[in-house]
């Protein structure tokens, strides 16, 4: 069993992990940068070590200093949280070499899943669906037409050397294909001096559906249902929920099975997440596997009743999973809203500063994960997330009502936040109807703000 855990992270996730340890009776070591000297996580931990100046490269990304802090304090395990070193295979490897338990998968697994092409190949071999496409470049339009039919419309034609949208065209039928291919090819030739193209199935307005996985060192793998993270701005998730209104029980079983298969194929150990794109016709494709705890893990915790951080620590300690797939029951509906210090009216520009007043909601079915407090100074070096507001209701309607009420109660003075923006999303009729996809914020004007491509 882990005796003393060092948390190589900051903010709400560091607080979240320390709380789990406090419940488990494990001693904790916080590390903090000079900019985080007055942070909640360093106060809450049993010990705290300053690991350098504010910029992440000098502190939370500095492996040498973090490892030195572990040695000095006698920590026997390190939890990396999310971001920073959480998916750094080299760091995991260094932990292994120093006999320090890395709370996460083995370094080998991180590194093989970090390689997109290798991960895709592993999944194809395991029979996990990936976005169909050509394996090698195509230059001939007739050959392309035949391949496109095989791949299935709509398709997207992309220049091999492409970037910035140049040399990219979609075609929704065979009739459209020839023109799309030739135009894209011409553009590619002009822009990159190369006319080699890829053809890929065009996944139109998909949902971002991800499955939470737990895998122990004995080869047991279960999934804890899905999260729908379709509300996102430029790949930054803003609202997540579980279960997804688009996933039926039958689909959940099917996708869950694939997620478990994917994790097994990768020889995964620890908590992890399989990301899929889900189309309106229920076809879905593997995107990638995240080898860390996710920001949005609380929604899964609430609908399943499983504490994911504690499970991570147990698995890292070498214990087997205490539950089987049949024990996992999805109960009610949970939603998470990320509260960020940013100004939606100024292109979501970060807004660091001092929090002058603070009121956070509470009550039945409401959870707040945060590292901020009244008088807290937001350092300019890190991401702008201040808090996660999580609610749980008996169904989606109740959960939305609860979230609206809770968000409406949030008062954060002194800095700009996205609270009002989130309130508007939750009030949107399409959102309330569950009619969402990854392009939602691009296709809806929210409180006078529309996200451009």
């Amino acid at each position: 069993m882990i005796r003393k855990l060092l948390i190589a992270n900051r903010g709400e996730i560091a607080v979240r992990i320390i709380r789990a340890c406090r419940e488990l009776g494990i001693e904790t070591v916080a590390v903090y940068s000079e900019a985080d000297a007055d942070s909640l996580h360093s106060e809450l931990a049993d010990e705290a070590v300053c690991i350098g100046p504010g910029p992440s490269t000098d502190s939370y990304l500095n492996m040498e200093r973090i490892m030195s802090a572990a040695m000095v304090t006698g920590a026997d395990a390190i939890h990396p949280g999310y971001g920073f070193l959480s998916e750094n295979a080299r760091f995991a490897q260094i932990c292994e070499r120093c006999n320090v338990t890395f709370v996460g998968p083995p370094s080998q697994v991180i590194s093989s899943l970090g390689n997109k092409q290798a991960a895709r190949n592993t999944m194809v071999a395991a029979g996990v669906p990936v976005i169909p496409g050509t394996d090698s470049p195509v230059t001939d339009v007739t050959e392309g037409l035949a391949l496109a039919a095989k791949i299935g419309y709509p398709v997207i034609v992309k220049a091999v050397l492409g970037g910035g949208g140049k040399g990219m065209r979609t075609a929704f039928s065979g009739e459209e294909f020839e023109k799309a291919f030739l135009t894209a090819q011409k553009e590619a030739q002009a822009a990159f001096g190369d006319n080699q193209m890829y053809i890929e199935h065009f996944v139109e307005h998909p949902r971002h559906i991800e499955f939470q996985i737990l895998a122990d060192g004995m080869g047991n793998v279960i999934h804890l249902g899905e999260r729908d993270c379709s509300i996102q701005r430029k790949h930054q998730k803003m609202i997540e929920e579980s279960p997804s209104p688009a996933v039926s029980e039958a689909l959940r079983q099917k996708m869950g099975e694939m997620a478990v298969r994917a994790a097994k194929a990768a020889h995964y150990v620890s908590a992890g997440t399989i990301e899929f794109l889900l189309e309106a016709d229920e076809r879905f494709y593997f995107m990638e596997m995240n080898t860390r705890i996710q920001v949005e893990h609380p929604v899964t915790e609430w609908v399943t009743g499983i504490d994911l951080i504690k499970e991570q620590i147990r698995i890292a300690s070498g214990e087997p999973l205490g539950i089987g797939q049949d024990d996992v029951q999805i109960k009610g509906h949970a939603i998470e809203c990320r509260i960020n210090a940013e100004n939606p009216k100024q292109n979501f520009r970060p807004s660091p500063g001092i929090i002058s007043t603070l009121h956070l909601p509470g009550g039945q079915g409401i959870r707040v994960d945060t590292g901020i407090y009244s008088g807290y100074r937001i350092p300019p070096y890190y991401d702008s997330m201040l808090a996660k507001l999580i609610v749980h209701g008996k169904d989606r309607t109740e959960a939305i009502a609860k979230m609206l009420s809770a968000v409406g109660e949030v008062i954060i003075g002194g800095v700009e936040t996205n609270v009002d923006y989130q309130f508007e999303i939750l009030s949107d009729a399409d959102y309330q109807a569950g009619d969402i996809n990854v392009d939602f914020l691009k296709n809806h004007e929210i409180g006078g703000v529309k996200i451009e491509e």
């Binding site: 049993d46 026997d76 120093c98």
Partner: protein, 570 residues
């Protein structure tokens, strides 16, 4: 460590593991080390992968000899020499033998230097690399012997030598015998040099004592790694002697460069490339043109052509010659030559920024290029002292001329100076002597010398760069005994009559061409600037090629005789 006043604790204290317990967290030996410069912990593997440079503060760690060889030479090309020279203990110093054996065991080295033959980008070279782990790479008999033998063999096989110095100095344990190594190695360098062969010395941290005062400072070209400590007496000894704290950066590579003792500071990642470039500049022997026994005759006639002189007042010429937009020395070097390597320093006192000198390729032939450099813009002008050359600039030029002569490289001068620097330090350091020496010695330099006046040719300061087999001028360049302002002020006690003076002085290219002071005038385009100079440099390039072709054929004696007569006639 802070905190723990605010919240109640809940941890169940489990006693820490016993020290000896298996599987206890521990950083394995050799995984992490502390950087002695920034004090931060660094992963040894990362440092090794990064050429032994601290990834955090860029500090240079010392490189083990074999690792250094691997960084520098072509794969598998190193052949080690003289591996088994028997140990001797001339002073019968107690414990010395054991210490050496211990170090041999620990470092897997036989002694503090590894010598042998290798190739760098295909060019064969004799290499010696010192290793600081072995008694601070101090030079005792074996180190000196290996260096002497390597250099002697290089002389025999006519190969260039590269020595990577890193040493605390002479080896105390061997007493006077160590001192003699300074003489022995220097003697070997001398013979190698007299054979016309190249020796590049690379100084790494630290190079001090008897090594600095012998072979390390005797390179034709001396390079150093950034930040390397280089000196004769160690800084601590100096501080104790003078009872004063030494300033920051004292005796560091950058300090030595400024003081004229280094040709260049080369970052470790660029060392192999730099050495290869220098070796190439010394391997390309002049392509033997078919000499048709064409000696004698009027060589200059081939080049003679009457340019179309634009009618213009002398003062207008002066203004054009001084124009801010006018290209300066380095613009010509960049456009006419390739592979230019700048070499710094006079090896006495300073590196004069008003002179840029170095080796370059001209159509496949190595040449020495020396330019008076005014710099660009006000900042550049100040940094380059407006092209006003100091004694150390003339001495740097002299050094590069001797080097050119040793390696048989033709010399091309670019003249652009308002005059030699007029200041106290210049006089203290012998401005007159430095100019005189340059003028005089140029009559003995046994390689073709061409001088091109590209802007202002001011007085003796210009002449020191214009004793040549031929002198050319750009159409609007000027060349005179003194600035028109100075001329007016001396003769008429009125510096404001510069325009009138200019008209009298016969300082334009046309005047000087007619007087036979210059052999050739190169026409300029209108609005002559960096942007519009390509036509001029193309003409110059063709002209230089012709010049090389013709003067290259002359024997040294004839070359010098012609140069003598060229100036004898005035």
């Amino acid at each position: 460590m802070k905190n723990n006043h605010l919240f109640k604790k809940t941890a169940k204290y489990i006693p820490l593991r016993e020290e000896s317990e298996e599987g206890a967290p521990e950083v394995p030996q050799g995984l992490l080390r502390r950087c002695n410069a920034c004090k931060s912990a660094v992963f040894v593997e990362e440092v090794k992968a990064n050429s032994y440079i601290c990834p955090h503060c860029n500090n240079y760690f010392r490189v083990p000899a074999y690792k250094r060889i691997r960084q520098i030479v072509d794969e598998d090309s190193f052949e080690e020499w003289d591996m088994d020279i028997p140990f001797s203990n001339p002073l019968r110093y107690k414990g010395y033998g054991e210490k050496v054996r211990e170090l041999q065991e620990k470092t897997k080295l036989k002694e503090a230097i590894v010598t042998g033959k290798a190739q760098i980008e295909g060019i064969p070279v004799v290499l010696g690399v010192m290793d600081g782990r072995f008694l601070m790479a101090s030079m005792g008999e074996i180190v000196g012997e290996k260096i002497a033998r390597a250099i002697e063999r290089a002389t025999q096989e006519r190969l260039p030598v590269i020595l990577f110095a890193c040493s605390g100095g002479a080896r105390m344990q061997e007493g006077i015998v160590s001192l003699m190594q300074m003489a022995k190695t220097s003697a070997a360098v001398k013979r190698h040099s007299e054979a016309g062969l190249l020796y590049i010395s690379v100084l790494t941290d630290p190079t001090t004592g008897g090594v600095t005062a012998s072979f390390a400072m005797l390179g034709d070209i001396i390079l150093a790694e950034p930040g390397a400590l280089i000196g004769f007496a160690g800084p601590r000894v100096i501080e104790q002697t003078i009872r004063q704290k030494l300033p920051k950066g004292f005796q560091r590579a950058e300090f030595l460069l400024e003081h004229g003792f280094l040709d260049a500071i080369v970052p470790r990642e660029q060392m192999r490339e730099t050495l290869a470039g220098l070796l190439r500049l010394h391997t390309n022997q002049r392509t033997e043109e078919t000499t048709e026994g064409q000696t004698g005759g009027d060589l200059r006639s081939n080049l003679r052509e009457e340019p179309d002189f634009v009618p213009m007042s002398a003062w207008e010429h002066v203004e054009l010659a001084r124009d801010k937009k006018r290209p300066v020395g380095h613009d010509y070097i960049e456009r006419i030559f390739t592979d230019f390597v700048e070499l710094h320093g006079d090896r006495y006192l300073r590196d004069d920024p008003a002179v840029i000198g170095g080796i370059a390729m001209f159509r496949g032939m190595p040449v020495t290029v020396i330019a008076q450099e005014k710099g660009e813009g006000t900042k550049g002008n100040i940094a380059r002292n407006f092209g006003m050359v100091s004694p150390d600039g003339y001495r740097k030029s002299m050094r590069l001329l001797k080097q050119a002569e040793k390696f048989g490289r033709p010399v091309i001068f670019f003249v652009d100076t308002p005059g030699a620097f007029c200041g106290m330090e210049a006089e203290e350091q012998g401005q007159g002597e430095a100019i005189a020496r340059n003028i005089c010695e140029l009559f003995g330099v046994k390689v073709p010398v061409l001088s091109i006046v590209i802007g202002e040719g001011g007085s003796g300061g210009a002449l020191a760069f214009a004793v040549a087999d031929e002198v050319w001028m750009l159409e609007h360049a000027v060349y005179s005994i003194l600035s028109p302002e100075g001329f007016a002020s001396i003769l008429w006690k009125d510096g404001s009559k510069a325009k009138e003076a200019a008209a009298l002085m016969r300082l334009t290219a046309q005047d000087l061409y007619q007087m036979g002071i210059v052999e050739r005038v190169i026409g300029e385009s209108e609005n002559f600037s960096k942007e519009t100079m390509d036509g001029v440099t193309a003409n110059l390039e063709q002209g230089i090629a012709d010049f090389m072709n013709q003067y290259g054929k002359l024997g040294a004696e004839e070359l010098l005789e012609r140069r003598y007569q060229r100036f004898r006639k005035f």
